[in-house]
């Protein structure tokens, strides 16, 4: 496969930056930024904004300095996401991002970015034991499926390397 420059991640990154700046200055996100968000992320954007509205994103910190995000999904499931790489244990991430390569992020990770940009991430402290448990649990049941899936698609070696790596940083 030809090595090409990828633009979409940069577009997404710039959008987050713009949202952050705009929110910092005006405490709101103008329509002019919501529309491109929707354009780039598709239906994810709406769901992620709903998660933001519901304050569903929490940043967990442990005394050792480790951090992780926890997103309360619409169904009440908690999804633990890493700080240092894009991974979410939700099925949408496994399917849309990992298997099909049809999306950059799932709604949970998108919600994390939006919350970070707006500075509305909830904060919570957990013990080191809890943190390590959380992170290792993240790699539990879905992982095997993802692993299989990635093996079959076999397009991006770095995907399974990252997704199989339970350590956050």
């Amino acid at each position: 496969m030809l090595k090409m420059r990828q633009f979409l991640p940069a577009v997404a990154e710039q959008l987050f930056r713009d949202i952050q700046k705009s929110y910092q200055e005006t405490s709101q996100i103008p329509d002019d930024l919501l529309i491109p968000l929707k354009f780039v992320f598709g239906p994810c954007a709406l769901q992620a904004l709903d998660l933001v509205d519901r304050h569903s994103v929490t940043c967990l910190s442990s005394p050792s300095g480790r951090k992780a995000f926890q997103v309360m999904g619409g169904s009440g499931c908690l999804y633990t996401c890493f700080v240092s790489c894009h991974y979410c244990p939700c099925p949408a991430f496994a399917y849309t991002v990992l298997c099909r390569n049809e999306g950059l992020l799932c709604k949970h990770i998108l919600a994390i970015y939006l919350c970070q940009a707006m500075g509305v991430t909830q904060q919570a402290s957990v013990s080191d034991q809890q943190m390590s448990l959380l992170l290792s649990e993240t790699a539990a049941p879905w992982h095997r499926n993802v692993w299989c899936c990635v093996q079959q698609v076999d397009q991006c070696p770095q995907v399974h390397r990252n997704s199989m790596d339970p350590t956050p940083c």
């Binding site: 496969m1 090409m4 710039q14 700080v83």
Partner: protein, 921 residues
């Protein structure tokens, strides 16, 4: 033509045979730039083969597929959709006949294909598959199609649409009964059957699961097939054919069905939090969806594509297409319509920038962009400039239309298949976007609740700095929607001034050409005498721009902004481009820019990256253009901790003598001078032009040769805003000292115009203290040596032949006669001196002054007396001088002077005639 094409694509999408056809057809578009129909039909064939892997058909199947791809690569025919359909049909015909395949549905679908193609061409009024021999219809259709190959097909769009809708309707009916079970199939994880021959598929289908889906769906279809045949037996053959075809069609997924809207929600009706972002986006989305539906409907019914001259329409040529995450990223170049005819051509100018256009899956499915195509993107689109990217990315491209397809026979040599969209590798997941980095950088800090926010804000600080663009040109080139500059630009504010609003002044240099758009704030109702704040900025590459900012609540606020901004490095944000102005049209503005040229420090070169600031170039000639921008009060923000920028070139105070003796024809100059006399034209100071007679110690001091005049005249035009303190000073009878910044000296006349700033020059200790903060301040440079040295009384030039109008001079001479016939007297207001008095009805001896609106009890009596004067300085002339307030008996034979007179008018033809007026300094 484009609209027709679109319609056909709609139809193609509707007519896909397998669920993954639609699903993958779109994402595979780029790979095979040929139309959907070809892809889907080819694949439907391919899948049929897959489901009978062990039959001898597979060999034919393989070869046919190879042929297909070969054809696709070599085809360079306009309206590729049709032609490739033809080819495919041909192939299918051959295969069907040669393989003597007993699978009946094959024949039927092929027939259906052809019939469809024929219907497209409108060559076949008959319904497909009438009870005729399929042979006949095939050959006829083939014949017709092949003869028409090179022409663009003539399609009666209405009937085309009708038919396709009919088909879809019927298809839908069929679907409901039996195929529901397969609906959810594609959503699941791909169950990869091991017996799928990957090799075959890899030729042009890279996503592996399509084969799996095909297998499952075809199994489903064959299972329910007999049921349908029984039902169809009572119907006509064509109906049967259609139902048989519908049998093979699994239900389309929700997002496949309507190409009308970019996103079909409606599946989940969720409640969003009221007032939340999601609710807002949902509303926006609904609005956008209906706008897009409407637009597509309109663009389908309206076949003309001549809207290029509409503002905001991007005309782009596709260079390269790549696919990323279900979106198509198209490298484009700006295109311009040449004047003659409708031939598109490259413009010679180098200004054409490359842009990247992002198309959603739906839009891409309609456009099928391929290299060489010309695409129109109608507003509202949005442009996003990204740090480190040379070109902008255009988003929200829902309103896009292909107006020219490059796939003409002339370009046959270019293998089209090779230029198609290339699919990107999945992006690297092991690195998060910038925003999350903050979490890692704070890890050293003690973990507390507020830490993150603190870190976030500090991060923001650096982020903002990083986002700054240093070049106005680059920022303006990367124009966003409706001319708004997306990036922040770091500039030096060279000058701050204010301009009167157009309502109160007919003199406005700039007339914005850009039509105001709906979302631009409507101009607020303007009070008379309001002024708009302007800044002249310069970036580190030397480019200038004028930024028109908000309306000042009070004219006097100008000083505040001068103090705040002038000379500082500021960040421009949220600005819009109004106009590109050139030297030829705006000489006044460029005289100011010239006064700032060459820059005091070396400039950066656009060829280098901003970071390598050591690389610099010598300043070339002064710029020939600049941009007129508009912004709001918060558009200019001084960077923190910045004293005066090294690039700032403060106005240099000159003496009037220096100004006057300057060789330059037109130049800007700044000076402090004493206003000896002022004269307004018609009305009060501040309403119209004001003529000021100025002097300063440099003019008053004794000069060896009388090269210079004792006084100079300066005209303050209406475009120069005078603050209330200046007006107050000018309206008071006392002489006042004023500073003039960036006045123009042009053809021997001093002018204060739009960019000039007049200020009362005070020497208060407080003021002086303030000015030490800005060492280069004009007040500072000119104050000390001059204050004491202005002689009293002020010396004036004697009246001479060279005396110019609106100047002061002294007059001495002997009165030799009085023009008694013209002498008269009149009452004048004793307060304001106006002669515009009204007699009060109730008290006839009292007057009412119209000018100052006061009752005048004791009016001054002004006497107009014209006397003939013999002057020593003009020995050959007899002067007739108007003297107010003299008795006739007292003046005859008297020596007059030296009188200070104001020269009102000078006429040199047919004979020298000067109108002088005695004044009191």
């Amino acid at each position: 033509m484009a609209s027709r094409k679109r319609k056909r694509y709609c139809k193609d999408i509707k007519c896909v045979f397998f669920p993954d056809d639609a699903e993958n057809g779109v994402e595979n578009l780029g790979r095979g730039p040929s139309s959907l129909s070809s892809v889907s039909s080819a694949r439907s064939w391919e899948k049929r083969g897959d489901s009978f892997l062990d039959t001898p058909v597979i060999k034919n199947h393989k070869s046919s597929r190879r042929k297909l791809s070969a054809i696709r690569k070599s085809t360079q025919i306009p309206a590729l959709a049709q032609t490739s359909t033809v080819h495919i049909n041909e192939e299918q015909v051959h295969i069907a006949w040669s393989s003597s395949d007993n699978e009946q549905s094959d024949d039927e679908t092929q027939e259906q294909h052809l019939a469809r193609a024929a219907a497209l061409k409108q060559q076949h009024p008959q319904r497909p598959g009438r009870p005729k021999a399929p042979f006949q219809s095939y050959t006829r259709a083939l014949h017709m199609l092949s003869t028409e190959k090179d022409d663009l097909p003539v399609i009666d769009t209405d009937s085309d649409l009708d038919e396709s809708e009919e088909d879809v309707e019927k298809d839908d009916e069929q679907q409901i009964s039996d195929c529901e079970s397969s609906d959810e199939k594609p959503k699941d994880f791909p169950l990869k059957p091991t017996n799928v021959v990957e090799l075959e598929i890899s030729g042009y289908v890279s996503d592996g699961e399509s084969a799996g889906n095909a297998l499952s769906s075809s199994r489903l279809d064959s299972g329910s097939f007999p049921l349908q045949t029984g039902e169809g037996s009572s119907r006509s053959v064509s109906d049967w054919v259609r139902s048989a075809q519908a049998m093979l069609q699994t239900p389309q997924k929700a997002f496949d069905r309507p190409p009308r809207t970019p996103e079909d929600s409606g599946k989940k009706k969720r409640k969003f939090q009221s007032g939340g972002l999601a609710e807002r986006l949902n509303r926006l989305q609904c609005r956008q969806r209906s706008a897009i539906s409407f637009w597509r409907h309109q663009s389908i019914s309206n076949t003309s594509v001549t809207a290029v001259d509409r503002p905001g329409v991007l005309v782009l040529e596709v260079l390269e297409v790549q696919e990323e995450c279900n979106m198509q990223l198209v490298h484009c170049e700006h295109y311009q319509l040449s004047t003659e005819g409708h031939q598109y051509s490259h413009t010679v100018s180098q200004e054409r920038a490359r842009v990247l256009v992002l198309f959603s899956r739906e839009t891409a499915a309609q456009l099928i962009p391929s290299p060489g195509d010309i695409i129109h993107i109608y507003p509202p689109w949005q442009s996003l400039s990204i740090e480190g990217f040379s070109c902008d990315i255009i988003l929200n491209t829902h309103f896009s239309q292909k107006v020219f397809s490059a796939s003409k026979p002339a370009n046959m040599s270019v293998p089209r298949g090779l230029l198609s969209a290339r699919r990107c590798m999945p992006y690297y997941l092991g690195k998060t976007f910038e925003l999350l980095d903050v979490c890692r950088t704070t890890e050293e800090n003690s973990v507390q609740q507020d830490d993150l926010s603190a870190a976030l804000s500090s991060f923001r600080g650096s982020g903002v700095l990083k986002k700054h663009c240093l070049s106005l040109l680059e920022a303006i080139e990367g124009l966003g929607q409706a001319g708004s500059v997306g990036q922040d630009v770091e500039v030096v504010v060279q000058r701050v001034y204010s301009i009167p609003l157009p309502d109160s002044s007919p003199v406005s240099i700039f007339k914005p050409r850009v039509p105001s758009r709906s979302f631009a704030a409507p101009p607020a109702p303007v009070e008379k005498g309001k002024t708009r704040l302007c800044v002249l900025v310069q970036d580190s590459y030397g480019t200038f721009s004028v930024v028109q900012l908000h309306i000042l609540p009070s004219k006097d606020d100008l000083h505040k902004y001068c103090e705040l901004w002038q000379g500082k490095t500021c960040v421009l944000r949220g600005i819009k481009v109004v106009q590109r102005v050139t030297r030829e049209r705006h000489t006044m503005l460029f005289s100011l820019i010239d006064s700032l040229w060459p820059p005091v420090m070396p400039l950066k070169d656009h060829g280098n990256t901003p970071s390598t600031s050591s690389e610099s170039r010598s300043a070339g000639p002064a710029p020939r253009f600049c941009y007129l921008l508009s912004g709001q009060e918060n558009s200019v923000e001084p960077t923190v901790g910045q004293a005066v920028s090294p690039l700032y070139l403060p106005p240099t105070g000159q003496t009037l003598r220096d100004v006057w003796q300057s060789e330059m024809k037109t130049c800007r100059c700044s000076f402090v001078a004493t206003v000896l006399y002022k004269r307004t034209q018609g009305c009060d100071v501040g309403q119209g032009e004001v003529w000021l007679v100025l002097t300063d110690p440099s003019l008053q001091e004794e000069q060896p040769e009388r090269l210079c005049r004792r006084t100079v005249t300066l005209c303050v035009s209406t475009s120069c805003v005078l603050t209330s303190s200046v007006l107050k000073a000018l309206n008071s009878p006392a002489a006042c000292r004023m500073s003039f910044r960036d006045a123009i000296k042009e053809a021997g006349v001093l002018l204060c115009v739009e960019q000039s700033v007049v200020d009362v020059h005070s020497v208060d200790p407080e003021d002086r203290h303030a000015s030490t903060a800005r060492p280069e301040s004009l007040s500072q440079t000119l104050t000390e040596p001059q204050v004491k040295t202005l002689p009293q009384p002020v010396k004036l030039d004697p009246l001479s032949l060279k005396t110019t109008p609106n100047s002061l001079c002294t007059l001495t001479g002997v009165i030799v006669g009085v023009e008694e016939s013209t002498a008269y007297s009149w009452p004048a207001c004793n307060y304001c001196g106006s002669d515009h008095l009204k007699i009060l009805a109730e008290m006839p001896q009292n007057f009412h002054c119209v000018s100052c609106k006061s009752a005048v009890e004791k009016p001054d009596t002004k006497i107009q007396l014209e006397v003939f004067l013999s002057s020593s300085s003009l020995s050959n002339y007899t002067l007739k001088v108007k003297f107010p307030g003299y008795d006739v008996e007292n003046v005859l034979g008297k020596e007059v002077g030296p009188l200070a007179v104001y020269v009102r008018v000078v006429t040199r033809k047919p004979a020298l005639w000067m109108c002088l007026e005695e004044i009191c300094l």
